[in-house]
């Protein structure tokens, strides 16, 4: 569907550097701080700003069409008579909500499946991994095209979220399972088992902390996957295009040929927003990863 799915295939991005130098540690914290700052601006901005307007951003003809940038319209208005700035604010908010919601579900499923498969092993693991591998191998785009044609317009964009969950959990499950696998044979797990801890307890208390760092990184990456896949679906018209999202704003801008007719802010603003959002998520994820490594290295 989209390049960004590929981050999911990159457990290697989450590989923890063993022994970072002092200098690079300083930089990591900077990364984390910068990433969090960007995310905070996006999150706080898109969630609080809507309280300062009573305009419905997707209503057509609310203003004159094609107005230039001004104090009243920070990014001008588009060819449908909507305010581009407000549409973008709502779009970022909806995309974030969708991303976080999808990512919560995906991470939960991936963690449960991965941990249980890795720890329990045996035929259970084999069956689960077979299904996981199938989900990873089958190209989702054709399936999403068919499903998209089926559901579009009939339901809210939450259904799109559901589809993303269905096709998004496999990558994480695979990675977490392989991490759980390597931990399973370690000394302290056996200790715990002999001292009578239940399977659930062992998974939760002994194994979980070890994969925790990956889960956080995976969570952040999945947000990105969700936002961008929804956007890609919207652009080919298969999502709910009347709901403002980063994808639907690009859909309309392309539909009206914004670049060609000189409506640059309409198309450039969502692209820049997507890139910045990605930058924030990427910095947070790598920053957190290295911070965690540094902490472990020194404790």
């Amino acid at each position: 569907m989209n390049t960004n799915v590929r981050l999911e295939s990159a457990p290697s991005v989450a590989v923890v550097p063993a022994n970072p130098s002092y200098r690079s540690r300083l930089r990591l914290n900077l990364r984390l701080r910068m990433g969090l700052t960007i995310l905070a601006i996006f999150a706080i901005g898109s969630f609080t700003l809507p309280f300062f307007t009573d305009v419905n951003p997707s209503e057509q003809g609310a203003y004159m069409k094609n107005l230039p940038i001004s104090i009243k319209h920070l990014l001008g208005t588009n060819s449908q008579g909507q305010d581009i700035f407000w549409f973008l604010v709502f779009a970022i908010r909806n995309s974030l909500i969708l991303g976080v919601a999808v990512s919560l579900c995906v991470t939960t499923i991936a963690t449960l499946v991965g941990l249980s498969a890795g720890y329990i092993g045996g035929w259970f693991e084999r069956v689960v991994m077979l299904i996981t591998d199938s989900f990873i191998t089958i190209p989702v785009f054709p399936i999403l095209i068919v499903l998209g044609a089926l559901v579009r317009g009939r339901t809210s964009f939450w259904v799109v979220g559901l589809l993303l969950v269905i096709f998004g959990w496999a990558w994480g499950a695979r990675t977490i399972r392989s991490m759980a696998l390597s931990i399973r044979e370690r000394e302290f797990i056996n200790m715990a088992r002999f001292s009578g801890a239940s399977t659930f307890d062992i998974i939760l208390k002994e194994i979980f902390p070890y994969v925790y760092a990956y889960i956080v990184v995976g969570f952040i990456n999945t947000i990105l996957f969700a936002i961008n896949t929804e956007a890609a679906l919207a652009v080919i018209g298969l999502s709910k295009v009347e709901t403002p999202t980063l994808g639907s704003i690009i859909f309309w801008a392309l539909n009206y040929n914004a670049m060609f007719i000189g409506q640059y802010t309409w198309i450039v603003a969502p692209v820049v927003a997507t890139v910045l959002l990605f930058l924030g998520l990427f910095l947070t994820s790598t920053g957190y990863n290295e911070l965690y490594a540094a902490r472990r290295g020194h404790s």
């Binding site: 569907m1 989209n2 390049t3 960004n4 799915v5 590929r6 981050l7 295939s9 990159a10 457990p11 290697s12 991005v13 590989v15 923890v16 550097p17 063993a18 022994n19 970072p20 690079s24 077979l130 299904i131 591998d133 199938s134 990873i136 191998t137 089958i138 190209p139 989702v140 785009f141 054709p142 399936i143 095209i145 068919v146 499903l147 044609a149 089926l150 990558w171 695979r174 990105l224 961008n228 956007a231 890609a232 652009v235 080919i236 690009i250 392309l254 670049m259 198309i267 692209v271 997507t274 890139v275 959002l277 990605f278 930058l279 990427f282 790598t286």
Partner: protein, 333 residues
Amino acid sequence: MGLIQYIAARVGVYLFVLFIGITVTFFLPRLMPSDPIENYIAQLQNQAGQSMDPEDVAELRASLSELYGLEGSLFSQYVGFLKRVFLTFDFGPSFSSFPRPVTEFILVALPWTLGLLIMTTLIAWTLGNSIGLLAGFFHNKRTATMLEVVGVVLYPIPYYILALVFILVLAYVFPIFPISTTIRPGPLNFEKVKMILYNSALPALTLVTAGFGWNILSMKSLSFSTKQEAFVNFARLKGVPPRTIMTSYVFRNALLPQVTALALSMGTIFNGALLTEILFSYPGLGLLMRSAVGSGDYNMLYGTITMTIIAVATATLIIDLIYPFLDPRIRYR
């Protein structure tokens, strides 16, 4: 586990994936919101300007069902479908290009998709990994950070935006490449190859640009962490020249996870190629698939989706089978 078991396990997974994929393929289009037979009958009636005799309609419906392979219960259709696909690779006639068989269209489209895909994946993978290696190995240099940033910025830009920017810049402002694909029929000679390359340049460029960002990022991170490992430090202390360290020590070790990742992301890469084809009207499987959805052509959908699943699963299998030769330490797990 020995090598034989490893291969057997891989092939087993391969067959299972194919089975699941083809099953999903069969049932999904049944959910499609259009009925080719009723549409055809309605079209006939509208052109004739009068209702047909109910008996005639029933007869027509039955004969069309038979032609399209839609007669019988869902289960018997499913069994028949599996038989035809696995034994004879036959998907029946296309509805919208009746009565030509779907397989005919797929065989025409497949080389286009595979050609574009293999070429761009190789380029994106090699280029991305080389840049990533440099960025990771010289991670303190500004250039290294720059290269990483290139990756970070390229990676989230959606395909369609990249495609549009390339069209605008390289086909319109500087009209170097064609805006849309035109391939004339004719024998495969030097001229034809030139024509194909010339027409494939923009879609390929889009795929490469969109694809190599991730390779930069992951390779950078990998080579950075490999560089910190004890055996690399040891080699450095032993006085091995940095260039050798980079290629023989860091690259070789960082390469393996990248190969695995490539195998795992074949499906995703394929998705991108399909989308690009649609955007550039490139005559491959993706375009075939999109128009099949548009016209409610079930058989064509079965054929194209099954073909992509086979292609992706096979590519994954091939990489999996090559893997042991790259990594002598593998435990065949």
